[in-house]
Symmetry: C2
Subunit: 95 residues, 2 copies
């Protein structure tokens, strides 16, 4: 019947971040903030959760002298996202 919705992905902001990362494969904090229209604090917290779950990889570098937090999706993250989409379909395209 219905598949379970991974609670880590069933969150507007985290889903937005994952959605971006699955298509671009690398994005920095500032870009993610712009695209998702999130506040910095919220984004920081949610990036942390995705990172701790092993869904994304976070690298802290510098762009010139400014700090720059780079995010990339991991294979585990890709898998989780795809599973989440499959699960969603059981709610949306119910037969």
């Amino acid at each position: 019947m219905f598949k379970e919705l991974n609670p880590l992905l069933h969150s507007e902001l985290r889903l937005g971040v994952m959605s971006i990362l699955i298509s671009v494969e690398e994005a920095d904090f500032v870009y993610l903030k712009q695209e998702t229209k999130a506040t910095a604090g919220n984004l920081s917290v949610q990036i942390d959760k995705l990172s701790k779950a092993g869904y994304i990889e976070v690298t802290k570098t510098f762009k010139g002298k400014m700090p720059c937090t780079l995010c990339r999706i991991t294979p585990k993250g890709v898998e989780a996202f795809e599973e989440y989409v499959e699960a969603l379909k059981t709610y949306i395209y119910r037969k």
Copy 2:
């Protein structure tokens, strides 16, 4: 870019309930409980929220001597569900 996800529908159980009601147009409490595998308490709370939002209509009747809570989706509920699905697609099928 991303469309907002109606928080009332962006909840596993409420989405499940709406998903059922959009296809069958009438279902009772017991059926919804079976299909969603929810606890009665949780289901009761979520049905109440959907009802207060005007997304579903709840009628309390009897089946024989046993109480029977019937739920039907409203036009407003159909619209909200369809909008939610459109919004979801901006996260899932991102161009």
